[in-house]
Each structure stands twice: as structure tokens, then as C-alpha cells.
């Protein structure tokens, strides 16, 4: 006989889970009692939101399903932002929540919340398990759904009596998952692939627009091979950074609102846009009618609903990006020279590099560049959201997939620090940096306690400008510098870190940057760097809201 709690914990281990992130509470007592003797590692966070983000960071860094655990009511509700973050970026996590006993369901019982109802629009699927007999199967389905097709979060809500009851249960007897309503298309349609290849030969000015789907399906190698074989330039989305090395000659950098001029010009002028694992998000397209308006479009994506959602597509290919790219590579016969186009692009790249004022002021871009130089493309970089995120995307040189972890779709401030904790458990040998703003860091600053008590060697580099910088930038540019509620009081983050038992250094000049970064990297445990950067630095270039992406402000003009 096994309790539901035991079926759960053993089931997690059978799914290959080694680490979970959680926070105990009343109705998960039976599960926590089971964890007490289990070899499953449980990391106690200080707020459930951090558990969800840590599971998400783990999943993005490892490519495996991340797991978080919380109690009912407030515990479950605190996971919501983390689940929504994972949903928007198609990250596979399984969130397990306790629920009040089945006899009290719907009764407004203490710490009851309808978490399956609440998370309906932000999960790929969710379950309320009403019988212990269903728990094993539901868990298998949850991992299967989270980790296949277009990946995403799945929530499993377990009432207390379901985890307490004992039943006969045999894992070996459980059948493989079959869901008649869920059969993702993995192989691309052969004829569509042929059509795409023809279109590539017909094109004169093609551009590959690569998104997070490349990372999710581990297709970076195939992407680079395709680009190199055809000699087609590549621009990546925020989520696609690392899919092609930053310094690859065919890489145009990021496109969109804070993309490079060369990427945005190339897409605007292109006559063929090859979208791979990308979803034509508004931060990428700007004014939709002007986006790649001269181009025919090939769109490769695992989710049929993304095709044609925002932009009419000429050749849709539904399938796993890696599989489709492999098929394309196998079929490639003809080649064509796009030399004139490549020369134009090289011209843009030379004329419009990313740049910032280089002087004695401590500028945030400089901090990111120096960190990039020190780590030499190694390590895992996590960011918060806002200016810190955009500067990192622009100035850190990502060379490998899964080394850049950021909340792209939902834009969740407070994501970075707990996600960095998760990334550490996925890749314990890697240096993990959270590049933060002073605003974002304070949204999950309590996790300093988690890293201190577990000696988790996550480094936090705060680009401290005492502003909610990105909002301030918009106020400066579009609201006459009326800084409505965006100025933050000074915080001594080193003192805060010390209070939690974490070391830190305050940095106020350019000369101190490299030694401070080195000190952080060389420290075995967690470390906090408080960079007092130029306060009103802006992220440029920038496409104003509603403008076409070639109408950029800031940076070097044509």
C-alpha cells in the first residue's frame, strides 16, 4: 500500500526529477512528510513565486521539466506569476499544489482557492486530482504534456485526502500515456519543405528570423548549418539569443524594439523572411503592416495556432523546428549567391554598430561588456526585466543556446534571481549571473536567504540607477520627463546582502568594475555586486511604440 504522497514523490523520481523548489503549508503536510526521508532534493524558497521561477530557470538551462511545489490558497496563488511567465515563453514546468480535502472543495474552506480555475488561461493543461487512483497517471500525463510539442506549464492540484489515502499502486503496471486530444505534429510536411526550398532559391534578399523555438527544440546546430550552407543572414529574437554565436559573421543580432539597426533594416528590405520558431510578437514586429512588407514569408513552428496569427504566411510548415531543419538540410541541392545582399548588410553592420558613450562615467553597458569579456561566452546569464535585460541582450556575447535566460513574453520583474537559482541546479558547474536592476531585484530580494542557506553560488550584478529605468526612459522620451513614480530611494544592497549572510561589493567607478566582477566569479558562494551606474542612461536604438521597425531613434543615424 502506498499513500498518494508516496506515489507523487516516487513518481517524480521516476520522471527523472532530482531537484524540486517549494514551500510547505497545511495541506501539503503529507507530501512534505514523504519528502523528509526521500532522496529527492527539495530547495526551500522564501516565496512561492520564486519556486515557480526557479523551476522555470532549471527547465530553460537544462531542457528538462522543472518542478515546483506549493500549498493551497495563498501558496498556489503565489505561483501564478511564475506559471504565467513559463506559459508565455513555452517553458516546461510541472507545478504541484496542495488543495483542501475533497469533502471541503467549493466550500470556501481555509486556504482554499480554485487554482485550476485561476490557472486555466496560463497553463498548457491542468488537473484537479480527486482520486488517489488517478494520481500516478495524471503525473505521467503532466510531464508528457509539459515536455512535448509546444512546451509549457502544467499544474497538478492534489487535495489533502488524496495525498493521504493509501492504495495499491504499481508503477510497472502503468500504461504509456495516450491522449486522443493531444498529438502534436513533429515532422514537417515534405511538400511544404520543398516549396520553402524553392522559395529560398527564388529569393534575392532572404533573412532568417530565429526565435526561442530554436532553443526549445535544441536546433541551434541545424540553424547555423542551414545559414552557413545557404549563406543567409540570421537575426534572432530576444528569446533566440544564443541560437547562433553572437560573433558569427552571418549574425545580425537581435531585431525589434531594441534590436540592431542592421537586423531591422535587413528584415524591412528582405524579399524572403524565414521565420523559425518565432511568433511575430509585437515587440519584434513594431507596426505590423510595415514588417517585412516586401517579403514572402516561410514560417516554421510547432504550434499551428502561431502560423498566420499576426502575419499572413506564404509557406507554413508545422513541425518540430529541429526535425524540419534536418529535413531541409537533407533536401538542399541547389544553392544561390546572395552576394549583393550580403554586401549591403555588411554595410549596415559597419555603419550602425551598437554603441554607447565611452567616458569616465560608470555606464551599465560597460559592466555587461566587461562581464561578457571575462566569461568569454561561458556561464549562464539570467536577467531581470527592463533596461538591464535589454543591455544584456545587446552587449553580452552569447555563443551557445541555453546560456541566456530571461522572461521575454510576460516580462516579469523579479524573475531573474530565482530563475538563476534554478539554472544553477541544472548546470552546477557553470557560473550563473543574474543581471538585475535595483527595481527588479527588490521584487524577489528575499531569495538572498535561499542562496545563503544553501550556499548557491549565484552572482547578482545590480545595475543600480535608482530608477525603474525602462519606464523612466519612456517618461523621458514620450511624457516630457515627468518621472511619475519611477524614482526609487537609494538602497545599500551590500548591506542587505550582508544581513542575509551574502558577500557583496559596491562599485562606483569604471576602474572598479573588472576587479569586482572577478571577485564575484572567484567567490565560491553567492555574491552581490551593486553597480552605481549612470542614472539616466537609455537603451538605444529604439523603435517607438507603433512605429515601423526601421524607424529607429537613438544610436547612430543613417
Amino acid at each position: 500500500m502506498k499513500t498518494g504522497a508516496k506515489i507523487l514523490v516516487e513518481g517524480l523520481q521516476r520522471e527523472g526529477v532530482e531537484t524540486i523548489f517549494g514551500y510547505p503549508g497545511g495541506v501539503v503536510l503529507p507530501i512534505y512528510d514523504e519528502l523528509y526521508d526521500s532522496s529527492l532534493r527539495h530547495i526551500l524558497v522564501r516565496h512561492e513565486q520564486a519556486a515557480a521561477h526557479a523551476a522555470d530557470g532549471f527547465a530553460r538551462a537544462s531542457g528538462r521539466v522543472g518542478v515546483c511545489l506549493a500549498t493551497s490558497g495563498p501558496g498556489a496563488c503565489n505561483l501564478v506569476t511564475g506559471i504565467a511567465t513559463a506559459y508565455m515563453d513555452s517553458v516546461p514546468i510541472v507545478a504541484i499544489t496542495g488543495q483542501v480535502p475533497t469533502s471541503l472543495l467549493g466550500n470556501d474552506a481555509f486556504q482554499e482557492s480554485d487554482i485550476t480555475g485561476i490557472t486555466l488561461p496560463i497553463t498548457k493543461h491542468n488537473y484537479l486530482v480527486k482520486r488517489t487512483e488517478d494520481l500516478g497517471r495524471v503525473l505521467q500525463e503532466a510531464f508528457y504534456i509539459a515536455g512535448t510539442g509546444r512546451k509549457g506549464p502544467v499544474l497538478v492540484d492534489i487535495p489533502k485526502d488524496v495525498s493521504m489515502r493509501s492504495i495499491e499502486y504499481d508503477y510497472a503496471a502503468s500504461e504509456p500515456v495516450t491522449l486522443r486530444g493531444y498529438q502534436p505534429t513533429l515532422r514537417g510536411h515534405a511538400k511544404q519543405i520543398d516549396k520553402a526550398l524553392e522559395m529560398i532559391i527564388e529569393a534575392e534578399q532572404p533573412v532568417i528570423y530565429a526565435g526561442g523555438g530554436i532553443i526549445a527544440s535544441d536546433a541551434s546546430e541545424e540553424l547555423v548549418r542551414l545559414a552557413e550552407t545557404l549563406v543567409i543572414p540570421v537575426t534572432t529574437t530576444l528569446m533566440g539569443l544564443g541560437a547562433i554565436p553572437c560573433d558569427h559573421p552571418l549574425n545580425l543580432g537581435m531585431l525589434g524594439m531594441h534590436g540592431t539597426r542592421s537586423a531591422n533594416y535587413a528584415v524591412t528590405e528582405s524579399d524572403l523572411l524565414i521565420a523559425i520558431g518565432a511568433r511575430f510578437d509585437d515587440r519584434v514586429t513594431g507596426k505590423l503592416d510595415s514588417f517585412a512588407s516586401h517579403a514572402r514569408i516561410i514560417h516554421i513552428d510547432i504550434d499551428p495556432a502561431e502560423i498566420g496569427k499576426n502575419k499572413k504566411v506564404d509557406v507554413p510548415i508545422v513541425g518540430d523546428v529541429r526535425s524540419v531543419l534536418q529535413d531541409m538540410l537533407a533536401k538542399l541541392q541547389k544553392k544561390k549567391s546572395y552576394d549583393r545582399w550580403l554586401t549591403r548588410i555588411r554595410g549596415w553592420k559597419e555603419k550602425h554598430p551598437l554603441q554607447y558613450v565611452s567616458d569616465n562615467c560608470l555606464r551599465p553597458q560597460y559592466v555587461v561588456e566587461e562581464l561578457s569579456a571575462l566569461l568569454k561566452g561561458e556561464g549562464i546569464i539570467v536577467s531581470e526585466v527592463g533596461q538591464n535585460q535589454m543591455w544584456t541582450a545587446q552587449y553580452f556575447c552569447f555563443r551557445k543556446p541555453r546560456t541566456w535566460i530571461t522572461s521575454g513574453g510576460l516580462g516579469t520583474m523579479g524573475y531573474g534571481f530565482p530563475a538563476a537559482i534554478g539554472a544553477h541546479f541544472a548546470c552546477p558547474d557553470q557560473t550563473v549571473f543574474d543581471i538585475a536592476g535595483d527595481g527588479s531585484f527588490q521584487m524577489n530580494i528575499q531569495e538572498l536567504s535561499t542562496v545563503a542557506s544553501n550556499n548557491i553560488p549565484v552572482k547578482v550584478a545590480i545595475l543600480n540607477n535608482r530608477f525603474l529605468g525602462m519606464v523612466r526612459q519612456w517618461q523621458e522620451l514620450f511624457h516630457n520627463r515627468r518621472y511619475s513614480f519611477t524614482e526609487l530611494p537609494p538602497v545599500d544592497f551590500v548591506k542587505v546582502a550582508n544581513a542575509y549572510g551574502v558577500d557583496g561589493i559596491k562599485v562606483e567607478s569604471c576602474e572598479e568594475v573588472v576587479p569586482a566582477l572577478k571577485a564575484a566569479i572567484e567567490t565560491d558562494g553567492p555574491f552581490v555586486l551593486d553597480f552605481r551606474v549612470e542614472r539616466e542612461e537609455n537603451v538605444f536604438p529604439m523603435v517607438p511604440a507603433g512605429a515601423a521597425i526601421n524607424e529607429m531613434i537613438g544610436g547612430k543615424q543613417e
Binding site: L120, P121, G181, P304, A305
Partner: protein, 167 residues
């Protein structure tokens, strides 16, 4: 923009209806009519939804519906030969000696059934397409419609074509 009749085959499980309808409201589409019931396959239900939208919008809704794990198949019947039916129950004032005979005569013309008779009212049951029921209800209004209950629309392809199958 025109009304589309969507037939959605789903797992007969708790919460499926809210997953389906929640998707419509979340993505900004209005449901004009909704009917749910079990179907020929054990363990499945069929939801018939009438929704107004342009072709691109409806295509997007159908793709999003298909992504729901508990949705097995989604079909748009709009451009196919089909039969559609709704049912309405109408409680109408029909006092003996005054309007009762006229109401009963209208019922005969519309092939409605009288399913309850009381001292001052009768209840009529009518099936048909939307237009027929609308017309009947409009005619009855002069006698005093006390209460009207209508089902959502259900639809089926004509001939031997079927809606079955998995996505």
C-alpha cells in the same frame, strides 16, 4: 464577419466546458449560441458553438481550441450542407374563450406542440431553425409571452458525411 457554426468534440470530463468557453472570452470572441450534450462516442461530448467572426479570426479560434488537451476535434460546418435545429419552450397567455383558439391555430401552422395547459396559460414546444422560432415568438407576443426558454443551436452535416475523427 458572419456567424460560424463550430462543432467541437471533447472529452466528457469535468471543467471541459469552461476551458472551451473561457478561450472564447479570453481571445475576444462572443458566443452567440451554445449547446452541449453527449454524442455517439462513449466518453465524449459534442459542443456546438455559433460564433460571429471573420475567416481569419475563426481559424485562430479553431486552432486555439485544437490546442486544448481535452478537445478531440474541431469542425467548422458553416460552408457545408447541414441541418440545424433549436428548441424553444414558450409559455403564452391563452385564456379560454379569448385567445386560446388563435394560439392553438398558430401552433398548428408552425407544427409546435402544446405540452402543458393551465387555466390561463399554455406551454408550446417548437423546434426549427433560428428564423422559424423567431417568427413564431414574434407572432405570439401579442397574446402575452410570459416566459421563453431556448436551447442553443445544434447542427449536423447532410448526407453520409460525418464529423467524427481525431484531430
Amino acid at each position: 464577419m458572419k456567424p460560424h457554426t463550430l462543432s467541437v468534440l471533447v472529452e466528457n470530463k469535468a471543467g471541459v466546458l469552461s476551458r472551451v468557453t473561457g478561450l472564447f472570452s479570453r481571445r475576444g470572441y462572443n458566443i452567440e449560441s451554445l449547446a452541449v450534450g453527449i454524442c455517439e462516442e462513449p466518453g465524449m461530448s459534442r459542443i456546438t458553438i455559433v460564433c460571429i467572426g471573420d475567416d481569419a479570426g475563426i481559424e485562430q479560434v479553431m486552432k486555439q481550441l485544437n490546442k486544448l488537451i481535452d478537445v478531440i476535434k474541431v469542425s467548422d460546418l458553416t460552408d457545408n450542407e447541414r441541418v440545424e435545429r433549436e428548441l424553444a419552450l414558450i409559455k403564452v397567455t391563452a385564456e379560454p374563450g379569448t385567445s386560446r383558439a388563435e394560439v392553438m391555430q398558430l401552433a398548428t401552422i408552425f407544427r409546435a406542440q402544446i405540452i402543458d395547459v393551465a387555466a390561463k396559460t399554455i406551454i408550446l414546444s417548437i423546434t426549427g431553425d433560428t428564423e422559424k422560432i423567431d417568427a413564431f415568438e414574434k407572432l405570439l407576443r401579442q397574446y402575452g409571452v410570459k416566459e421563453l426558454v431556448r436551447t442553443g443551436r445544434i447542427a449536423m452535416l447532410r448526407g453520409s458525411k460525418m464529423l467524427k475523427g481525431v484531430k
